[in-house]
Symmetry: D2
Subunit: 298 residues, 4 copies
């Protein structure tokens, strides 16, 4: 079985590497010659277009920046569609708009290609460690075929539903992570201003009904004023815009999500778009110097 | 050691009962004769005023509706202060405004009484099972004295900091529980409208970065349209108002918290103040019938 | 001077009619044969494509639903660009995204065509009465050339700045109209619930610092529960999305605008997208029956 | 007819002065000896308590900071109530909580005193010029009696409804002024970032459906970065808190108002509570330097 991999950037590279290390032959393509050289060094072979990858492979993976690039790789000039044939499987690991996933899937299906949307959660570190969550939408039988491959990439592989539903689950999960971060920021700022040790407050809340995964990042990052990414505000913003667009299309009020994107706009307006997502805490309360207020020995 | 207990309502009664069952003699008072009769049936003795409780006891507990009642019981006519003396300990288990806790503590301290604020988290069910979290503010040595007693009431007993800080932690924890519930509601409404099975979405998010304690209540309550309390919107609203008042006094912006209280106002305006706190999900998306959309066999 | 007019729907028709009544010869096109027949009845001649209009005319106007249709008419198959030549002037009266206006303008400019964006404010009634405000972006000299024609269409013709700035001004104006409507709704709901006669409150606020143009619609519409459009929620929503997209692109926090679009989402989720924009008042307080509370004789 | 005036601070003094200048004898009281000396210099006589004022006068006015002071002056030790008698009229010109106005009125009514709540709008400048709006709640016949006196103080004297309704109208009017200011700030920031001259945008919006009284302050203040008060954020905040408390009591959702108070919290957290209310514009977009972008000759 010949595998293909299109898009070997910071997160695509380790995912592709896991497939190679599992013993698979991988034909790779990237618009960047540097990225392509890097993955060849890791054991892949190089192709000169998505079409060339599609011609030679049984299953193609891709990891791309967003809807525009996915459309281009799948349906554009020299794209997968130019080598489409019945039986070809295309698994897109990018974070896509659900509607775009559905449109691309339908266009490929006319040529016999089956597409899955399979966005991942866990960031560059999760990709490197192979601990990503993979949320898959599309044909169940095809999912079963691909599942052993996806398990090289991520520790938790979920089948969500029809095509596009992988992206729905990913976007909603991330929206909740961002909102819960903003909420934790308000709570921690309020507590600190009220004179409570943020570390103690953290321990209590995480053992109680206010607990969230999003708060995990506070002790090591926010409390020390460390906002090195991780997952940047700019990337979080891209995901949240896609979630809010879903709300626009489906007429679902998203007040919390809307407040959250405004906090991100404010960070971006102040040049902090490249900082870690946890810097949402800075918008809520610029005046608090967590580091000074935290006990010395922590 | 003689214990007192003032306020034996729905949550005060089981807390008081745990102390009796641990072998302590308890002298109780309540404005309601029915409540008082109920706790006497469970083994307490009855007093006719907070002052009478204070006169006879070494350590007094109270469980009251809010700041106004706490001031009345502690400092009002026939209140604790009328029998104040050095060495008396007063542990208030109510959810109070931190500023009120500090004021009452200061007034009692002038007469030698030491006060702890020790609000609890976990609701009536937690009170009955003795699994409450207890968040304590005030003098550390007095906390150590009272800790064995508080451990009859709750499974997790935390010392947070100075007087009032127990209430700070409680109010912030609850604010986060409410916001995270509203966030989960947005996410679940959006996913369901997008055609994803809410149970699958729940499983994925709870295993990923969007996870929160607040989402726990969705499968058994929200997805089935079951909004029987539990913890009512009216009680949640009372807590959130106290948290927002702290924000007003300390000039901490609380956008998420402010949106959340407006959702509660909307529920109360529609006569749903007595429903469970999870009914925040109904405001986000009235149009969704979770029950129908959920698979039949779940 | 031969004029063209592309898009003669509910608002395009009266604008085109004013040009005909001023003595101009107008060649018209519309995708709907019915719309085209209607304007021919009013004295226009019919063309079979935007290209045909462009070939025969000196100045072309258009009034279209949004960015996608404008791109199609200007740059698509059988579009204006296929008959482009130096000296041709294209004045788009639609509400467009500023970025799209700039892109279309640049593409046409390569063929010598000068484009103005000239969105209008005032609705169908303003179009019929010729009282529209026209907000024009683009080359100043071309604006001066077109101004006498635009003055047949609208009573107030403004030159705002470079291409796209007409749309910027229009979108911002409308965003403020929507927000001020939502604000007035909160104020009026609060006052009415507090027992104050809404008509008296209206008179006082409109004479004081809380006054806004947006409140004008309350006595005749909101207070009587009359939400027949006027300007629909669906149209308002389209404008507000374009304004918020500008905020996304320019990283400007728009908290008030974001809350407002959520109120619109809620109305649309409840099937009220076709109601008048003033139905924002219904979201704020469904429980208030303005009509009953208003004095009988008003 | 002997008049009394309690509270002759920055806004009380010019109001009291207008009554003196109209030929009335005024007996004044203030907690500050300096304030009292100042009004005596302007022709008043000095009393040593609210009770003393009440004993000697037929109609008493007061101008006080808020609910707490009003309760003290009316019902506290040496307060009006100690000299209460049938026929005495008390007109409170302060901005009060409607519920407090009703409680104080009821307590005085038991002794025969009739109270009106009559808060004013227009600030210190309006008070000095006698151009205030006066919004009066309470008994209509008493209103008619006092109207000629109130017309010395303000140009527009409105009877709103029952006791407390003057405060309702005042608080709602001010809430709308604040929200409209925040909205205008978002619009102006967005337009300026998009490259439009803010003065042109101002002219267009004020002639269109986005117009509001609140925008009037932009050309002379915001565009020049001039935030000298006028009406401070701290005072605006006090009014908005009272409006939101009404929303809490009446279960009226106030999303726009809630966002607005968070902008104020942010300003106060940054030490800008003493700046002019128009500094709401600074929160929306700190990055914009209006002054530089505005044309040189304006």
């Amino acid at each position: 079985m010949q595998l293909g991999f299109i898009g070997v950037g910071n997160i695509g590279t380790p995912m592709c590497r896991h497939l190679i290390e599992a013993g698979h032959t991988v034909l790779a393509y990237d618009v960047s010659a540097d990225h392509l050289a890097r993955i060849v060094n890791l054991g892949a072979q190089a192709a000169d277009s998505p079409r060339a990858v599609a011609q030679a492979c049984d299953i193609i993976f891709s990891s791309l920046p967003g809807p525009r690039e996915i459309e281009q790789v799948a349906l554009g000039e020299d794209g997968i569609i130019e080598a489409a044939r019945p039986g070809l499987i295309y698994v897109d690991l990018s974070t896509n708009a659900p509607a775009t996933a559905q449109e691309v899937c339908a266009a490929l299906a006319e040529q016999g290609v089956i597409m899955l949307d399979a966005p991942v959660s866990g960031g560059v570190i999760g990709a490197e460690r192979g601990t990503l969550a993979v949320m898959v939408g599309g044909d169940l039988k095809t999912f079963e075929t691909c599942k052993p491959l996806l398990e090289h990439i991520g520790a938790n592989v979920f089948h969500v539903g029809d095509i596009g539903s992988g992206c729905v689950a990913k976007l909603i999960n991330n929206m909740l992570a961002f909102i819960n971060t903003a909420a934790a920021s308000e709570g921690m700022a309020l507590g600190t201003k009220a004179g409570v040790d943020p570390h103690k407050l953290y321990d209590i809340v995480q053992a109680s009904s206010g607990a969230s995964w999003a708060m995990n990042q506070f002790p090591n990052k926010v409390f020390h004023g460390d906002f090195t990414p991780g997952f940047t505000i700019d990337l979080a913003y891209k995901d949240l815009r896609l979630a809010l667009e879903m709300g626009d299309q489906l007429s679902v009020p998203l007040l919390m999500g809307s407040i959250c994107i405004n906090l991100m706009r404010q960070l971006r307006a102040n040049g902090a778009g490249g900082d870690d997502m946890s810097s949402l805490a800075r918008v809520v309360e610029d005046a608090i110097d967590w580091q000074i207020r935290a006990p010395q020995n922590m």
